[in-house]
Amino acid sequence: MAIHHGRGFACINYPIGMNLGGDPSQALVHSTPDGKFKVTLSSIDLGQGIKSVGRQLAAETLGVPVEDVFVDTADSDTGPHDMGSFASRGTHRMGNAIIRAATEARAQLLEAAAEELEVDASDLSTDGRGNIHVKGAPSRSITVEATATAAQFNQGRTLAGRGIFLVPLSEVDSDTGEMTPVSSFAHAALVIDLTVDDETGAVEVQHINSAYEVGRALNPRLVEQQLIGGAWMGVSHALYETTEPLYPDRSHGPVDFNHYLQPGPGDSVPHHISVLERPAPDAPFGGKGPGEMCANPVLPAIANAVFNAVGVECDSLPITPEKVLRGIRANGGARPQGRPGA
């Protein structure tokens, strides 16, 4: 009996937004008479946090406190059209639409404030705490609340904005595959440390070290949620999950969570993350969606680490103990490859 340590690497890039574009998102922003802003969308929050990120993007763009902004989604009577929450397009497409809607609303906010302060709107700035002031003269200021009230009741002006973001549709060439698939890529590189029990084929992931390049972490905690949870799902895909254990044979398909295997809380793996930020020119504040790509490098990195540990090629997912054990048997025993990068 022996437990073998293995180390494996993989790196990936991930296309952000619907392939080939042609997927618009719209956003509407408007102010209440007391200077609170509503962002109205048709995005879906599946847990990835578009309500929260959208709120931050709107607040930053408007220049108002985040607690004065609320995102309302998704009601087809009030929210304008959006393609949906998939293809890592939520932050990128909807984020851009929100920025545009908030930019328009901000321009009106500053116009309204300019009228009250009797200055030119281009001389005004926001402090992010609910005030609008003359650049270089913070004492000449008016609150966002007073501005909104004046706009509504004195000036007869809306503080509202419309935003749409549409990446133009790319065609595909039938003979060469020429296309403009997407406009930006997120990146990841990952090192997995694991052990393999050469008597049972059982694989235990010990550590994940990762570097994820996300353009900009618009909310670092939400990014971490995705990266930690996504890497967990990557481990799950690599070692556990299948709806058809004997694929392409359809028998023995699981119908409950006892038979559809996923790692439990006792299988949690310490995950050490570095976040890199190279802002994408067309992304909101440069941020690329981290939610989909985070699982992808884990699958090959685990397979590569299993090979490193015992010399078994695991080219078919999931890497069950049975597949590892069969590989060890076929090789006449474990064949440790030695620690890479040492």
Binding site: M1, I3, D197, E199, T200, G201, A202, E204, Y240, T242, P245, L246, S251, H252, G253, P254, N258, H259, Y260, L261, Q262, P263, G264, P265, G266, D267, T320, P321, E322, L325
Partner: protein, 263 residues
């Protein structure tokens, strides 16, 4: 439509059973089927008989009511030897519901506690008062169980191990229990049982006889390991294939017998 019948005593409940009825214990097996509209039954029979939840000392034996839950076993000092098996069943919520009686009825790959009870030569006391060996009961699995009768093993004679891919709660790749009784320093009258290696928990007689009269070390158990799956045709399921179960059974049997670290 479904009908629920509740009786004050286990005897009356047993009398109400037929092939269109299911006896509801902790609910973990039957309510699942109810929720999925299982057309094979249209009646649920249950009892409020408090004696089913009792754990009593009866001479040399402990009587464990069929309604005693896994959580109640874990809370009982008298049944501490069953704690590893009881803890192997489900998560905390399931253990608050799942009962001893239900575990005997649980289909593959469930029934980890029954594996332990089988190795401990437990006796099933039916609602009628009739007693029969657990092995005989598992072969037929009919009737309503009142309680289990089990003797406390001595010292470190009893071993239980569950092999699962998900931690800390997961379904069995296999579970194994061994009652390693000794005579003059050598194993004698050993009982070994497996779960998830057949359609029900089973005793492994080939292993038991190979352990007769040997010492509990690598050399002594070699023959037993060779016979680890003799007479068994382990099932395929989404957790593992029969091939895999057969291949790793000797490894886990050795780890169980010699007390090696679990993986």
């Amino acid at each position: 439509m479904l009908e629920v019948q509740t009786y004050p005593t286990i005897g009356e409940a047993a009398g109400a059973m037929d092939d269109q009825a299911r006896f509801l214990g902790g609910g973990t097996l039957i309510m699942n089927r109810v929720n999925y509209g299982d057309p094979r039954f249209n009646r649920i029979v249950r009892t409020t008989d408090a004696s089913l939840a009792e754990i009593r000392v009866e001479g040399e034996r402990l009587e464990v009511g069929a309604g005693v839950t896994m959580a109640a076993i874990l809370a009982s000092r008298d049944l501490d030897f069953l704690a590893p098996a009881a803890r192997a069943v489900g998560g905390p919520a399931i253990r608050n519901m799942a009962s001893v009686g239900g575990n005997l009825m649980a289909p593959h790959p469930y029934g980890d506690l029954a594996v332990a009870l089988l190795a401990l030569d437990a006796v099933v006391r039916m609602a009628s008062g009739e007693e029969l060996g657990l092995e005989d009961f598992l072969a037929r699995r009919n009737g309503v169980v009142r309680s289990l009768l089990v003797r406390r093993p001595r010292g470190d004679e009893f071993r239980f191990r569950k092999v699962s891919r998900v931690k800390p709660k997961g379904v069995s790749v296999m579970s194994m229990a061994a009652h390693l009784t000794r005579s003059a320093g050598r194993l004698s009258g050993v009982r070994v049982a497996y779960g998830a290696m057949a359609s029900t928990p089973v005793r492994v007689r080939a292993v038991e006889s190979a352990l007769e009269g040997v010492s509990l070390d690598h050399a002594g158990i070699a023959a037993a390991l060779s016979a680890a799956t003799e007479g068994l045709d382990p099932p395929d399921d989404p957790i593992a294939s029969g091939w895999y179960r057969r291949e790793v059974a000797p490894v886990h049997l050795r780890r169980l017998l010699l007390g090696e670290d679990a993986r």
